[in-house]
C-alpha cells in the first residue's frame, strides 16, 4: 500500500476518534458547571447530586479525550512532515498558543476540581469547573483557527526563497471568515452533544426511578434543563451552519458542489434528501428533491447560481494545472470523493435535526412531571446521546474530505504534504497500534459509562465536621 493512503487513514481514524469525545467534553463541562453553580446559589441538594453524577461521566469521557489529543499534535510531524515544513510558520502558532492558553488551564483546574471538594470554598470550587470550560472553548478556538486556515488560507505570503507559506497577518488568521462561522457552529454542536447526553441519561434514569419520588424529581430537572440547552444550541447550530454554508460556497465552491453531487452549474439548484445511482454524474437519480434549496443554502436565494463539479474542475485545472493528487482521491481532477461528501453532508444535517427533534419531544412529554413509558421512549433515550455525536463525526468527515485533494486549499495537496522519509510499514505500524489501542479503550470506556449510568446519582455523604487533617480525603483515586 502507498504510505500516503495509510497516512490518510491514520489521520482520519485518530482524528474522528478523538472528536467523539471532544464535543461531549465541551458541552458537558458547561452543563456540570451550570449544575454546580445552581447548587452554590440555591443550596438545593439535587443540583449537587447532579453535579457529581454527570461530573463522573464527564471525567470518564475527558480522560480519553485528553490522551487521544496528544497524538493530534505530534502526528503532523510524524506523518505530514512536508506539510509541517510548508506551513509551520502559520499553523504552529495557534497550536502552541492552544497549549499555553488552554491545555494548562484545563488540566490544572480540572485537577483542582476533582480533588478540591474539601480543599476549596464552594464558590472557588465551582469557578474551577467554569475555568475548565473556558479552557475547552479557547482550545476549540485556536485549533479551529488552524483548521480554517487550511480551508481558506489568509494572512500569509508564499516565499519562493524558502518555498513555504509565511505568516503575514496573524489577526487575519484568527479572524478568518471561515473561522468566524466555524467556531460557533462547532461549539454549539458541542453544546447540543453535551445536552443530548444529559437528556438521554437523565431521561433513562428517570424512567427507572418511578418509585423514588425525590430521585425522579431530580432527574426531571436534568432532563428539562438539558433539553432546553439542546434546543437553544440546535437553533444556533442551524443558523451558524447556514452562514457557514454560504461562506463555503464562496471560498470552496467545489465542496458545496460535491455535497450535492451537482455536476453542472445550475441556478435554482435543488437539494436531494436521498439518491440512488453512482453519484458520478452519469446515472444519479434523486428520489426526493427540494427545488431551490441547495441554491438557498449556498447563496441565500432560491434561484441563486451554484457552480457544478465539471465547471469547477475545468476552472481549477486552468488555475492550478493538472492535479498531482488526482490518482489518489477521485474519479477526476480536484474532485473530492462525491459519495462520501454527499452522504456525510446529509447525515450531519439529518442526525443533528433528529437530535433536536428528540429533545423537543422529550421536553413536551415531560411537562408537569410526566415520565412517559413505552419502547419508543426507551429507544429515544438511548438515541439522544448518540445522534449528535454521529452528526459531529459526519460533519468533520464532510469538511475534511470535501477539501480534498487539498491539504491547504489552493496551496498544497495532501499528496505533497505527507512525510517523504517515512515508509509504508512504519505508518502501518502506527495505524494498527493506534486503532487497536483505541478500539480497546472504546470498549472499556463505554462499559464504564454504562456502569456509572446504571448506578445512578449517589446519595449525598454525611456532612463532615470542621477541618480536620486526619479525616479521609473527600475524593481520592
Amino acid at each position: 500500500m502507498d504510505p500516503l493512503d495509510i497516512a490518510r487513514w491514520q489521520f482520519g481514524i485518530v482524528t474522528v476518534y478523538h472528536f467523539l469525545f471532544v464535543p461531549i467534553t465541551i458541552g458537558l463541562s458547561a452543563i456540570v458547571a451550570g449544575y454546580e453553580t445552581a447548587w452554590v446559589r440555591t443550596g438545593h441538594e439535587h443540583w449537587l447530586r447532579l453535579t457529581k453524577f454527570f461530573g463522573k461521566l464527564f471525567l470518564i469521557n475527558f480522560a480519553i479525550g485528553v490522551v487521544t489529543g496528544i497524538v493530534q499534535e505530534f502526528q503532523f510531524g510524524m506523518n505530514w512532515s512536508d506539510y509541517s515544513r510548508f506551513v509551520g510558520d502559520i499553523f504552529g502558532a495557534p497550536l502552541a498558543i492552544e497549549g499555553l492558553l488552554a491545555f494548562f488551564l484545563e488540566s490544572t483546574f480540572l485537577g483542582l476540581w476533582i480533588f478540591g471538594w474539601d480543599r476549596l470554598p464552594a464558590r472557588v470550587h465551582a469557578a474551577c469547573i467554569w475555568i475548565v470550560h473556558v479552557g475547552t472553548l479557547l482550545s476549540a478556538y485556536f485549533i479551529l483557527a488552524a483548521n480554517s486556515w487550511m480551508q481558506h488560507p489568509v494572512g500569509y505570503r508564499f516565499n519562493p526563497d524558502t518555498g513555504r507559506a509565511e505568516l503575514h497577518d496573524f489577526a487575519a488568521v484568527l479572524l478568518n471568515k471561515v473561522q468566524l462561522a466555524t467556531f460557533p457552529h462547532v461549539v454549539l454542536s458541542a453544546y447540543l452533544t453535551g445536552a443530548g447526553f444529559v437528556v438521554g441519561v437523565a431521561f433513562w434514569s428517570m424512567r427507572r426511578t418511578r418509585d423514588e419520588e425525590d430521585d425522579r424529581r431530580m432527574y426531571l430537572r436534568a432532563v428539562r434543563t438539558g433539553a432546553a440547552v439542546a434546543l437553544v444550541a440546535a437553533l444556533g447550530v442551524v443558523v451558524s451552519g447556514d452562514v457557514q454554508g454560504k461562506i463555503m460556497t464562496d471560498v470552496q465552491p467545489m465542496k458545496m458542489a460535491a455535497a450535492e453531487g451537482l455536476y453542472d452549474t445550475t441556478d435554482h439548484a435543488p437539494f436531494s434528501l436521498l439518491t440512488i445511482g453512482k453519484l458520478d454524474g452519469s446515472t444519479a437519480t434523486n428520489i426526493i428533491e427540494m427545488p431551490g434549496l441547495l441554491s438557498f443554502l449556498g447563496t441565500g436565494h432560491f434561484d441563486g447560481e451554484v457552480q457544478g463539479i465539471n465547471q469547477l474542475r475545468a476552472e481549477y485545472r486552468r488555475t492550478y494545472g493538472t492535479d498531482p493528487g488526482a490518482a489518489y482521491y477521485s474519479p477526476g481532477d480536484y474532485t473530492p470523493i462525491v459519495p462520501v461528501t454527499y452522504w456525510s453532508f446529509r447525515l450531519m444535517i439529518g442526525l443533528g435535526l433528529l437530535a433536536a427533534a428528540g429533545a423537543a419531544l422529550i421536553l413536551l412529554a415531560t411537562r408537569r412531571g410526566r415520565a412517559p413509558t413505552g419502547r419508543f421512549w426507551l429507544w429515544l433515550a438511548i438515541a439522544m446521546p448518540l445522534l449528535p455525536v454521529a452528526a459531529n463525526s459526519f460533519g468533520w468527515i464532510f469538511t475534511e474530505m470535501g477539501r480534498q485533494p487539498w491539504a491547504v486549499f489552493g496551496l498544497m495537496t495532501t499528496a505533497q504534504a505527507v512525510s517523504p522519509g517515512v515508509g509504508a510499514g512504519t505508518v502501518l505500524t502506527s495505524l494498527l497500534a493506534f486503532t487497536v489501542v483505541y478500539a480497546v479503550l472504546a470498549v472499556i470506556e463505554v462499559r464504564l459509562v454504562l456502569t456509572y449510568i446504571r448506578a445512578g446519582a449517589e446519595p449525598l455523604p454525611e456532612p463532615v465536621g470542621p477541618d480536620d487533617t486526619d479525616r479521609p480525603l473527600a475524593f481520592a483515586y
Partner: protein, 339 residues
C-alpha cells in the same frame, strides 16, 4: 538577543519544566510495584500525583507546539525521524493517562491490576525513551542535505543514547522516590526515603558518566559549568535525603534535572539537530526557524501567559500541599459491576 535564540531558550525552558515536573510523576508510576505493598498503599502513591500529573504533561504538549511554531524544520525532522520511539511514547502516555482515571472507577483485583500495569509500563517507557531521544539529538543523527532524517530506528540505539535512557530513568526514579517521601507519611515515607538514598547513589554515578560523555562529545565551557552544577545539586539532594530533609532533597533532584537539561541544550546550541553525515545538513536555530514575525507574536504571547501558568500551577501545588497517609484514603465508591 536574536529572537531565534530567545525561542531556543524558551523551548529549553519548556523541556526543563516537563522533565522536572513529569519526571517525578513518571518516577511515582515506575515505583508503584516497588513502594506499595497493598491496594491502599498503591492508592496513596497514585493520589500523591493525582491532581497534578495532567498539568505536568501539558509542558510536553506546549514544548511540541512551540517547536512546531518556532522551528518548523526541527519539528518536522525530529518527529518524522524519531517516528517509532515517539509512537511508543505516545502509546505509553495514552494508556497511562487513562489508567489514572479509570483504575479508581472499577473494583476487583483484575481490573486494578491491569491498570497498574498500564501505569507502570506507561511511566517506564517514556522515562527511558526521552533520555534516548535527547542523547540522540545532542549527539547528532544522520540528516541528509534536504533536512530529512535518514537513519532508521536502530541508528538511534547506540551506547551513548542508551546511557542517556538509563540516566533519565534513574533520575526520574530518584526524583519520584524523593517526591513520595515528601508527600506521604508513615511507613511509605520512610521506605521511599531509604529507596531514594539507594537509587540516588546509582543515579548520581550514571548521571555523572552520561554528562561527562556529553561534555567530551559536544560540550563547551558553559555546558560544563551547568553539568557540574547538576552534579552538585544531585549530591546535595542526596545529602538532604540522608538528613531526612525531604523538601530540600526534592529541591536538589529538581535543580539537578533542570541544570542537566539546560546543559544539554547549551551543548546543542546553536544547532537544534546536528547531523552526523559529512555531506548532510545540521539544523540550526537559524535555518530551522520560523519567520521573525511569527516569533515576535509568539514571544508576546509567551511573555504574557507563561507567568500566569506558573502562578496557577504553583497555586494548585499549594492547595494539595498536605501529606497523604493510608488513613486519608477513603473507601472507594466504584459501582460493583465495572470489571
Amino acid at each position: 538577543m536574536e529572537l531565534t535564540t530567545v525561542w531556543f531558550c524558551l523551548i529549553a525552558v519548556l523541556w526543563i519544566g516537563y522533565f522536572t515536573l513529569e519526571g517525578f510523576d513518571f518516577g511515582v508510576g515506575m515505583l508503584l510495584p516497588i513502594l506499595a505493598h497493598d491496594e491502599v498503599e498503591r492508592r496513596v502513591l497514585i493520589n500523591t500525583i493525582g491532581p497534578v500529573w495532567d498539568g505536568n504533561e501539558v509542558w510536553l504538549l506546549v514544548a511540541g507546539g512551540a517547536t512546531f511554531a518556532a522551528f518548523p524544520e526541527w519539528y518536522a525532522t525530529l518527529f518524522s525521524g524519531f517516528y517509532l520511539p515517539l509512537l511508543l511514547i505516545l502509546l505509553a502516555l495514552i494508556v497511562r493517562g487513562v489508567a489514572f482515571e479509570y483504575r479508581a472507577k472499577g473494583h476487583g483485583v483484575a481490573w486494578r491490576g491491569r491498570w497498574d500495569i498500564a501505569i507502570i509500563v506507561g511511566s517506564w517507557v517514556p522515562a527511558v525513551l526521552w533520555g534516548v531521544a535527547f542523547a540522540d539529538i545532542v549527539h547528532g543523527v544522520p540528516i541528509a542535505a534536504d533536512g530529512e532524517y535518514v537513519g532508521g530506528f536502530f541508528n538511534l540505539l547506540h551506547p551513548y543514547a542508551l546511557l542517556g535512557g538509563l540516566t533519565t530513568a534513574l533520575l526520574f526514579l530518584t526524583h519520584g522516590a524523593v517526591f513520595v517521601s515528601l508527600k506521604t507519611d508513615g511507613p511509605i515515607r520512610h521506605e521511599a526515603r531509604a529507596l531514594a538514598a539507594r537509587l540516588g547513589i546509582l543515579a548520581a554515578g550514571v548521571t555523572v558518566a552520561f554528562l561527562l560523555w556529553t561534555q567530551l562529545d559536544s560540550g563547551d565551557l558553559a555546558s560544563g559549568l551547568l553539568f557540574v552544577g547538576a552534579a552538585v545539586a544531585l549530591v546535595a539532594g542526596l545529602v538532604a535525603v540522608g538528613a531526612a530533609r525531604e523538601g530540600w532533597a526534592f529541591c536538589g533532584t529538581f535543580v539537578a534535572i533542570a541544570l542537566g537539561v539546560a546543559g544539554l541544550f547549551v551543548a546543542l546550541f546553536p544547532d537544534v539537530m546536528p547531523t552526523t553525515l559529512a555531506d548532510g545538513a545540521s539544523l540550526t536555530t537559524t535555518n530551522a526557524a520560523a519567520t521573525a514575525y511569527t516569533l515576535k507574536i509568539m514571544t508576546v504571547v509567551a511573555a504574557v501567559f507563561t507567568p500566569l501558568v506558573l502562578l496557577y500551577q504553583s497555586w494548585s501545588y499549594w492547595v494539595f500541599r498536605r501529606r497523604i497517609t493510608v488513613e486519608h484514603i477513603p473507601a472507594d465508591h466504584a459501582p460493583a459491576t465495572a470489571r
